[in-house]
């Protein structure tokens, strides 16, 4: 914005003294809500991740967790509501209407703002997906409240306000943002940033139905078609249990065979750093990091990746990180659990072979007997 060219922190510190002063109207706003993103009968997993996070916030605040489910009348929408309870919702606000069959900004914005205005949540969380970001901006503007996008951490302060932390300046810094005097406090969170809570079988709980007064004739935008991505194009990076990735240190697109071979040997997804995509060695859906995918695998093996902050923020949720880099001072070793200072072109084949030996059913049977 129109900031004079001076450091970010002092300016921010100047605003830091602001105190929450909620009007009586906003004091009525209670409970933590999650928008349950559901399309074509499938709930986006980020919604369940957010229910897990909402539970933590709600427990601190001593309030309830609610899911908001919108969709066409029918099984799929009801299933989404039922699932929300299994992932921790106490209440579900359900809005069923034929105009909500496919996501469109107009009817979804109206549904969400109406439900918020009627039932008044203090916190509203949405996944930072293409749908969630399209919707969140419209809803926040309509409600004239604050929205913090792409958060990586949420916390409740002593004064019960929501502190939403997000990367800024291309990830080189983090900042914690508050919506002090407006409600609801809105935030979007990218898939896989929050851990998936366990699913517990639960009966359908309290459902509050909301009627959307909107006729199809009054909705201007029409969906002409939906062209699903071809499966071969789809990488399942974000939700893979094991991920192998390569960076510029691999030197050439041909050397990515080593990464792919290791990945296929152990049934992993493969990915890369941003410059690899920019060079056209791999497609954009393989990019891991702040402007690519956030991953949370049990095991992350990366070779020839320096570990720049924009890459790190995408992989810090991994349970275990194995890094291969020729430079012992590479920043990736600051977050790695196991490090190998050596040439990736030699290490990758050795590791692939070792996994193959170890995992071959023949060898395992021998080991077991």
């Amino acid at each position: 914005m129109t900031q004079p060219p001076k450091p970010a922190a002092p300016a921010a510190a100047g605003r830091g003294n602001m105190k929450a002063e909620l009007s009586d109207h906003f004091k009525q706003y209670k409970h933590v809500w999650v928008f349950i993103e559901q399309e074509r009968g499938v709930v986006h997993p980020v919604s369940f991740e957010l229910l897990g996070e909402a539970r933590k916030l709600a427990d601190k605040l001593g309030v309830e967790v609610a899911g908001v489910v919108c969709g066409a009348p029918g099984e799929a929408t009801k299933m989404a509501a039922a699932e929300a309870f299994c992932y921790g919702a106490d209440v579900v606000y359900l809005c069923e209407d034929p105009v909500l069959e496919h996501y469109r900004n107009e009817p979804y914005t109206k549904a969400m703002t109406d439900i918020v205005n009627t039932y008044k949540p203090e916190i509203l969380l949405l996944g930072a997906t293409t749908l969630g970001r399209d919707l969140a901006g419209s809803v926040a503007t309509t409600l004239a409240t604050g929205l913090t996008a792409d958060c990586t951490e949420l916390a409740v302060d002593a004064d019960k306000s929501l502190g939403a932390t997000r990367p800024t300046f291309g990830g080189s810094l983090l900042c914690t943002i508050y919506t002090l005097n407006y409600r609801p406090q809105m935030a979007t969170i990218r898939p896989r940033v929050m851990a998936m809570p366990p699913r517990v079988d639960k009966p359908i709980g309290r459902i509050i139905e909301h009627r959307l007064d909107m006729a199809e004739d009054n909705i201007i935008t029409k969906v002409l078609a939906f062209l699903p991505d071809r499966d071969s194009n789809k990488s399942n990076l974000a939700y893979a249990d094991v991920v192998v990735a390569g960076g510029m240190g691999l030197g050439s697109p041909e050397n990515f065979q080593l990464v792919k071979r290791l990945a296929s040997t152990i049934g992993a997804e493969y990915g890369c750093s941003r410059p690899v995509v920019q060079k056209g060695w791999l497609t954009a859906d393989r990019q891991i990091g702040q402007t690519g995918k956030t991953i949370r695998p049990k095991l992350y093996i990366c070779a020839g990746i320096s570990g720049a902050i924009q890459h790190r923020v995408g992989v810090e949720g991994a349970d275990m990180i194995v890094a291969i880099n020729t430079d012992k001072n590479a920043p990736i070793f600051e977050i790695a659990h196991v490090g190998i200072v050596a040439d990736a072109l030699k290490v990758l084949p050795a590791l692939t072979e070792a996994f193959r030996r170890r995992l071959s059913p023949h060898n395992r049977d021998k080991l077991a007997s």
Binding site: M1, T2, Q3, P5, A8, P10, A12, R15, G16, E39, R40, H102, N105, T130, R133, A136, G137, S138, A140, T141, A144, G146, L147, G163, T168, F169, G170, S172, L173, L174, C175, T176, I177, T179, K222, L224, A225, F226, L227, P228, D229, K234, D241, V242, G267, L299, V313, D319, M320, V322, H337, V338, G339, I340, A342, V347, A350, A354, F355, L359
Partner: protein
């Protein structure tokens, strides 16, 4: 037709450094660029103008030096540039920014004609919020088309537009009514180089400069810090992990010894991974 393209001048974040002691952004000497995502919006606008005729107005809100980015946009072929600059805008969050830009676009409509399309980039590289476009759309009551990967049929007489929009798991084909706000997806086109004629014109062109009042903003409480419901309380550098990595040497053993040692180290720390991998190996062998 008239198209307005909102652009932002941003620090080239590839060159941003954080001061190691004070954790502040060192902006001095960091070159500024047009937000790379906005170039896809600008190019798309120029293509539509070339095809259908009309004018492209570029608009930015920023400090006086943001004029550089506008001039750059003129060299690419934009017809007119408007700089929205006022100290009242300092510290704007997405809500206050979309208010100021939306008001300026309303003013542009009065002075230069109503736009059929307002373009923005998908997001900026410094803020990364992707919320200003939707905010402008809502305030101006424009139909909103985000993450557009392709512009299909545009019927100016009939007042309709068809686009392809990136959604989760596929592409939505949408048809809607003009005027619209479009946020353009990256990688959808290549920015032209701009002609010599445009470069000469850009050097001499006058950039329209508006303060808040000129843009028709009356309610200053909706601008800048005061108009921003969000408050940045803390800025800090990301911390590393405290425990150190275990290093496994490579050169002092055979590849087989090394491989076994590494696999062992992985499975020891992550027994669950071993189970997963064995399961996978068995399924694989079954084929």
């Amino acid at each position: 037709m008239h198209i307005v393209v909102c652009i932002k001048q941003v620090p080239d974040s590839a060159q941003i450094r954080v001061h190691p002691v004070t954790n502040t952004i060192m902006r001095q000497g960091v070159p500024t660029i047009i937000n790379p995502y906005d170039l896809f919006a600008l190019e798309e606008a120029l293509r539509l103008r070339d095809k259908f005729g009309g004018e492209v107005t570029v608009l930015t809100m920023g400090p006086p030096m943001a004029e550089d980015s506008l001039r750059r946009a003129l060299t690419y072929g934009a017809d007119r540039a408007v700089l929205l600059t006022d100290r009242f805008f300092a510290g704007s969050d997405t809500l206050a920014t979309s208010f100021a830009l939306a008001t300026a676009i309303a003013r542009i409509s009065e002075v230069y004609g109503k736009p059929e399309i307002v373009f923005t980039g998908k997001q900026t590289i410094d803020g990364d919020t992707a919320q200003v476009g939707p905010g402008i759309a809502k305030r101006l009551d424009l139909l909103q088309l985000t993450y557009v990967s392709k512009i299909g049929k545009l019927d100016l007489d009939g007042g309709s537009i068809e686009v392809e929009r990136r959604a989760e798991g596929g592409v939505q084909v949408l048809k809607t009514r003009l005027p619209v706000l479009i946020t353009m997806l990256e990688g959808t086109n290549d920015m032209r180089r701009g002609s010599m004629k445009d470069a000469l014109r850009a050097a001499r062109a006058e950039v329209v400069k508006w303060g808040a009042k000129d843009a028709g903003i009356e309610d200053m409480t909706k601008c800048g810090l005061r108009g921003s419901p969000t408050v940045v309380k803390r800025v800090f550098a990301p911390g590393g992990r405290t425990d150190k990595a275990e290093f496994i040497t490579f050169t002092d053993k055979t590849p087989i010894e090394f491989g076994d040692e590494l696999v062992e180290a992985i499975f020891k720390r992550q027994p669950a991974v071993e189970d997963d991998l064995i399961k996978h190996a068995h399924e694989f062998a079954a084929y």
